[in-house]
Each structure stands twice: as structure tokens, then as C-alpha cells.
């Protein structure tokens, strides 16, 4: 699916993106390219900076340096207005859902829709019900509050909120972690559908290799603050990079030790 878009501008280009917290350098120069209508999966050990990478991309955290281009437009020193316009094209889910506790599910799901266009209460509720039933949730859930739902249900509502107004670019931070395999499968299919049928571009952080194989055209692995390998999903097993091999097969022995992770985290 990538081939016919090879020569158009990539949707997202990160070059040498760096980010430190205090004197701990988390990102040491991330280079990444995502073509339009491509589905990229980002893998890497916990705490290696995957979530920070997505947050920097959207300007939720300010990257310290490097270049971030969305549709060719440089965002690294973008003003507020430019940043807000750029974010409108994105839908994002957060690792822990980040649903608004004080609002019922239907208001959560239609939050952005209702910021952008006037909707009656009934229209919004219908839209919310339609979106969450796609994700295998019962329609009556729309009147409940986030705290009343299980973790897996919250994750699906968060996903519904991100895709409700069909954004061009989707960022998913561990959308299937902690879910049963069947629900995970439903979410994978939703991501695949968004890319294949709606023409969205997707970046998904995932630890679930089965899911990565289903959803991703391309896979990038983050380690020590850089992308150590990036290639087609089909070549993941023959990357020739020890860390990738270890991660993909979940091996306890290899260069990715817990000690090395702790080291990296200390900066």
C-alpha cells in the first residue's frame, strides 16, 4: 500500500528529534518517516521513549531540537495557531485512556465533533452510539461515566473518541495492551479499516507482536533514544539487528537486559 505513494511528500517526517527531562536525555535523535496511508508500528522496551515521541510530534511536549514535519510543514517552532491547525488533522489515544472523568461516555466520544460543529444532543448521542458499537460496546454504555467501565472498555471508548470525526492521521499509544485477544482483534481490525478504507495514516505503539504483524506495513524500533531499526513488517524477522530479534521473539537473553534499560533511563 506504500508503493503508490512513494513519491508524494511523506505525511510525517521526524529528523534528529531530541528531548530531555532535566539532565536525562530520553530522545537522542529520532529519525522517522511515515508515508500517507501507511500504517507504522513503533516497538521498544518500556520507558524507552515511545510515548514521548508521539507527544513531541503533536507538540504536547516541546521537543528540544531536530525537525518535525507534517505534510511538509515544519512544526518544531510552530506558533500556537499553526500547532492547533496541525492537531486538528490528528486523532490520538493515550496509553491510559485519558477519558474525561466528569463527562459521560457520549460526551467524551463526541467531544471534538461538538467543538467543531453544532449538534443537537440527540445527534451527538446517536453519533456516539454508532461509534462505540463499531468497537463492540453496547449502545447503552453512552450514558455511563468512565469510572464505571472496565479498563478494556475505557480503552475502546478512548479509541472511539479519537476516530469519531475521522481524522487523517491516527496515533495510538498501546491500544491493545491489557485487553483480551478478542477485543484486541476488534481493535486491530478497526485500525486496519481506518487505513485501508478511510485512507488514514496510522502510527501505533504496541508491545503485542501478533497485533503488530496484523496492523503494520512498517515497523520501527526505539532503543536508547534512537530508531535502531526501521523496515517493512515482513522483514522484522530477518532484520539482522540483535535487539529487534530479541524483542520480536520475546527472549530473556540478549542485549536488551533490565540493567541496560535502567541504565538508559538514568540517561
Amino acid at each position: 500500500m506504500t508503493d503508490q505513494h512513494k513519491d508524494s511528500t511523506p505525511k510525517i517526517v521526524l529528523q534528529g528529534m531530541t528531548k530531555s527531562f532535566g539532565d536525562k536525555q530520553v530522545l537522542r535523535g529520532i529519525d522517522l518517516e511515515v508515508a500517507a496511508e501507511e500504517s507504522l508500528a513503533i516497538i521498544g522496551t518500556s520507558g524507552c521513549g515511545k510515548s514521548v515521541t508521539l507527544k513531541c510530534l503533536l507538540g504536547l511536549l516541546r521537543a528540544d531540537g531536530g525537525s518535525i514535519r507534517v505534510d511538509g510543514e515544519e512544526m518544531i517552532n510552530a506558533g500556537r495557531h499553526q500547532m492547533e491547525n496541525m492537531r486538528q488533522r490528528f486523532g490520538m489515544t493515550f496509553q491510559f485512556g485519558a477519558l474525561f472523568d466528569s463527562l459521560p461516555i457520549w460526551e467524551n466520544v463526541t467531544f471534538r465533533l461538538r467543538q467543531r460543529q453544532h449538534m443537537t444532543r440527540q445527534q451527538a448521542r446517536d453519533a456516539a452510539a454508532e461509534t462505540i458499537t463499531q468497537l463492540g460496546l453496547a449502545a447503552h454504555v453512552i450514558d455511563q461515566y468512565p469510572a464505571e467501565l472496565s479498563g478494556g472498555m475505557q480503552k475502546r471508548v478512548a479509541l472511539a473518541r479519537a476516530i469519531a470525526d475521522k481524522p487523517e492521521i491516527l496515533l495510538f499509544d498501546e491500544p491493545t495492551s491489557g485487553l483480551d485477544p478478542i477485543t484486541g482483534g476488534v481493535i486491530d481490525r478497526l485500525i486496519i479499516d481506518s487505513v485501508n478504507r478511510l485512507g488514514a495514516t496510522a502510527v501505533t505503539i504496541s508491545h503485542d507482536m501478533a497485533s503488530v504483524r496484523r496492523i503494520a506495513d512498517k515497523v520501527a524500533m526505539v532503543h536508547n533514544g534512537v530508531i535502531i531499526w526501521c523496515g517493512p513488517a515482513s522483514e522484522m524477522d530477518n532484520s539482522g539487528v540483535e535487539e529487534v530479534h530479541q524483542f520480536v521473539h520475546g527472549l530473556a537473553d540478549g542485549p536488551l537486559t533490565l540493567a541496560a534499560q535502567a541504565e538508559a533511563r538514568r540517561g
Binding site: 486538528q88 477519558l99 472523568d101 467531544f111 467543531r116
Partner: protein, 257 residues
Amino acid sequence: MIGFLQNIGRTTLAFLAAIGRLSLFTLAAVRWTFLPPYYLRQLGRQMVDIGYFSLPVVGLTTLFSGMVLALQSYTGFARFSAEDTVATVVVLSVTRELGPVLAGLMVAGRIGASMAAEIGTMRVTDQIDALDTLSTRPMQYLVAPRIVAGTVCLPFLVLIGDLIGVFGGYLVGVYRLGFNPSIYLSRTLEYLEISDVTLGLVKAAVFGFLIALMGCYHGYHSGRGAEGVGRATTNAVVSASILILIANYIVTALFFG
């Protein structure tokens, strides 16, 4: 020695940075308050929370303060046979000073803490980031309604608190100290001027602004995890209380001069 100086330098820099951050936050908060869109439902929710649900706390505080004030001033003034000034002392102290300050401190504990905890939790659970990704400015959606509600509601709370405080003084004056009710009331009103009440209400508005600002600021910049939210909550209450006492002096001095 070098280490000591370094420490002082670092602390000073951190302090100045915090002042700068707070100033920027304040400017942004005020600016976004006046720019559309306005989230009226959020505003209504905050007004109910601050204005209505603080009534019992403020009422009880001012009631007993008015009562104790009547007793104490009676004891004091009886020593030079000026007992009949009790009503005047009570009403002036309550409207000019005790009403706004006590209500301010109580509301700082109640509302400052809950704002910092709520916004801080939203920060650490990425809800504030989520707002940003959903075409909503957190400054307008979260901060502006709280600041408006705080500034508008506190004067009303204090006005009601003033009435209750004066009533407390009246109860003690009439039922404990044996004043004639109608004389007590006329004494209460005799020397009271509009400017006394206005001063109290101006103070209340300033305090309400400071309480909401501190709650929002500390919540917004909350550190990570439950610990970060806990610290934000404490800082919000402590800083709001201190600022209230400082602002109290400044406003009084301005009106005085």
C-alpha cells in the same frame, strides 16, 4: 563553601523561574478568560461548587467569629466603660476584615485544594493533553471558568458571611450580654459606611481570584503520579493562604491611603 553558594544560586534561579512561570500563566489565564469560546456550562458548575457548596463552611466560620468577637470586645471595652461600642466593633471588624479573610482562608482550603487535585489528576492522566488534541484549549476550558467563578462568587459568599457574622454578634450581645435588641441593631448600622462593605467585597474578589489561580496553576504544573498531585494540592492551599494574607494588607493599605 562553593557548594553552599551554588545551592543559594540554584534556589534563587529556581525561584525566579517559578515567578516567571506563574506570571506567564496568570497573563495567559486572564487573556483567555476574555476570548471566545466561553464554556458556560463549566462556569456554571464551578459557580455552584464555589458559591453554593461553600456556604455552610463560610457561614459557620463567620457565625462563631462574630460571636466570639462580641464576647472579647465586651471584655476589653468594659475595662474603660465603653461597652456600648461592641455592636460597632463587631460590624466593622466583620465587614472590613474577618469576613473576607476567614471566608478566603476557608475557601482556599476547600476550593484551592479541590481545583489543584482535579486539574493535577487531569495532568497526570494525560487528560489535559487529550483536551489539546481535541481542539480545546485547557486554559479556556479548565482555567478560565474557575478563575471567573472564584472572582465572582467570593464577594457574594462574603456578603452572606458578613450578615451571618453580624447576626452572631447580635445573638451574643442580646442573649448573653443583655443588650437591648433595637439599640444593638441601631448601633450596628450607625457607624457602618458603604465603603466598609465595599472594602470587604473588593478583598473578597481579589482573594477569590488568587485562590482559583493558585489551584489551577499548581494543578496544571503538577508533578507526576499521585505524589505530584498531593504536592500540588498542598502547595495550592499554602500559597493561596499566604497570598490572601499579603493581599489583605495591600488592599487595606490602598483603601486607607
